[in-house]
């Protein structure tokens, strides 16, 4: 990253934070998993603001880019970004987890426009993303991209490693983003990247929009891992 760009990027970060903060505040009064919600905020914003070719109007277009939030815990940042981008009305943010609300403590694709998968139980998004990428390729959507976001602690679930190994072995083009806030109970000695054999890997500052965008926009002919490092959970 060019040193001279840093002040500009920081300004951009501040701009989005100002815009999302009141939306987040509407959500997070008694929302659970609050720290994990904010660890994803910058990555989600960059995805929806700069990377994903999807909008409320194209949310059902078969050729839209796909984003799968595997780490369904702490979806406040996700909901705030979906509201800021017009997928859901901002008023929906006021009743998180309520009987009449479409927004649960984990997202449900059937209830929320633009949400590709319903998650919450950890370790399901990567497998669904592999199937999504395969389905898009089989139907000729060569320019459609598949992104999936997982947490570093979520990688404890063995199901992820079935997907990681298969995607690496078959050079399946999809992008996985791991938000690393060092929340895995036993850590990942040797590093997270070492578990992704056959993948391209970029490690970025999880709050640096320029770094995040650069890593997500690059084209690859095999699976792409972006590790977005943020402050340690609870710090």
């Amino acid at each position: 990253m060019n040193f001279n760009l840093q002040p500009i990027l920081m300004t951009v970060t501040a701009m989005h934070t100002d815009r999302l903060r009141p939306l987040l505040r509407r959500l997070t009064g008694d929302e659970k998993h609050a720290p994990s919600a904010h660890s994803t905020l910058d990555v989600l914003w960059v995805l929806y603001d700069r990377v994903l070719r999807v909008s409320p109007e194209t949310a059902d277009d078969p050729g839209r880019d796909r984003f799968l939030l595997s780490k369904g815990h702490g979806p406040a940042a996700y909901y705030a970004v979906l509201a800021a981008k017009g997928f859901i009305p901002e008023s929906a943010l006021d009743d998180l987890g309520g009987w009449d609300s479409p927004l649960g403590h984990h997202p449900d694709r059937v209830r929320i426009p633009g949400v590709e998968v319903g998650t919450g139980s950890l370790g399901h998004g990567l497998g669904l993303a592999v199937g999504t990428a395969l389905g898009l390729r089989a139907q000729g959507f060569q320019d459609t991209r598949t992104f999936v976001l997982v947490g570093d602690a979520e990688l404890d679930e063995g199901s992820n490693h079935e997907a990681i190994a298969y995607a690496g072995a078959t050079r399946l083009p999809l992008t996985a983003i791991v938000i690393d806030n060092q929340s895995a109970t036993h850590g990942w000695p040797g590093g997270i990247a070492a578990r992704f054999v056959g993948w391209d890997v970029a490690i970025v500052d999880g709050h640096d929009h320029g770094e995040i965008e650069c890593a997500l926009q690059n084209t690859h002919d095999r699976p792409n891992l972006v590790i977005a490092t943020v402050e340690k959970k609870g710090s």
Binding site: V110, G131, Y166
Partner: protein, 288 residues
């Protein structure tokens, strides 16, 4: 039946570009010709059953119609949460096709057996369950399943009846008499033999889910005996619901819960669980 499944699915892959097949090594070799012709739609993920069903969910989310195949214990028992969440919770479907349901893999032992597969699916919403009793019943079931997006389970076994019965998604009456005996799938012939000379009505279905409640209600006078090739009592709740308000006595015969720690063949295990003709006759006679 497995060969019929392979032939029919190979043809479906050729006929319908929406069709996909996901495997976890089991039966990969006989599908090699199909995989060479449709490399993007015949997907073998290796020995990864959680991924197999996750991939099916992802394929279905993009509008494809995935067929998923393995041994029942790996397809249903092992990846139950993927069946629950990656299909049902995502509001998508797939066609799960199993072999080795109850005790076909007799010599392999309990690790390769799943008497509880249909009971497990009964905890979930929206599953149609087919248990064909003859290989000639299989192609139509698979072709029908390819035409929609619902959740379908097809349970293929080694045991077969002497003849096929078509349109058996409802109860078909094969013998009219007194108390009703319902035979599911491959247990029809043993039931017919067991009840020879007895004054009973024998009905057959290869589609226990959804259970033909109207048919069951129409055929039941006072006694109903369910004979199923999976865990005994799996249909007890469905039968009870169908007969709500009708005074009746019910007997549920099927595979026992206790593990039979013996090998041999499926015939040996059928006998051990009282599902051969002699065992069925003894149980049915005692009940009536």
């Amino acid at each position: 039946m497995r060969q019929t499944f392979i032939d029919t699915t190979t043809q479906l892959l050729a006929d319908d570009p929406r069709t996909a097949l996901v495997l976890a090594d089991i039966s990969a070799e006989p599908f090699d010709p199909a995989r060479r012709r449709h490399p993007d739609r015949v997907i073998n993920v290796g020995i990864r059953e959680q991924l197999m069903t996750g991939v099916a969910g992802g394929l279905a989310l993009t509008g494809m119609r995935p067929f998923v195949h393995s041994y029942a214990p790996f397809l249903i028992d092992r990846a139950y949460e993927q069946v629950k969440l990656d299909l049902g919770h995502q509001d998508v479907g797939a066609v799960l096709v199993s072999i080795g349901g109850s005790y076909d893999a007799a010599a392999e032992g309990y690790t390769h057996q799943s008497p509880g597969d249909v009971a497990l699916l009964d905890t979930l919403d929206g599953w149609t369950v087919h248990v064909p009793g003859h290989r000639d019943e299989v192609p139509a079931l698979l072709r029908d399943a390819a035409r929609h997006d619902d959740r379908v389970y097809v349970r293929l076994g080694m045991q077969e009846n002497r003849q096929a019965h078509t349109a058996a998604n409802r109860l078909i009456t094969l013998r009219l008499g007194g108390p009703l005996v319902v035979a599911v799938g491959p247990l029809l012939d043993p039931v017919l033999e067991a009840t020879r000379g007895m004054d009973v009505t024998v009905a057959y279905t290869n589609t226990p889910r959804p259970l033909d409640a109207d048919g069951l209600r129409a055929l039941t006078e006072h006694e109903v005996i369910m004979v199923e090739p999976y865990l005994a009592g799996t249909s007890a709740a469905a039968v009870s619901a169908a007969l709500t308000g009708l005074p009746h006595r019910a007997l549920h015969l099927g595979v026992g819960r206790a593990e039979v720690r013996r090998y041999g063949s499926w015939r040996d295990h059928a006998r051990a669980h009282g599902l051969d003709a002699a065992g069925l006759r003894a149980s049915i006679s005692a009940f009536l």
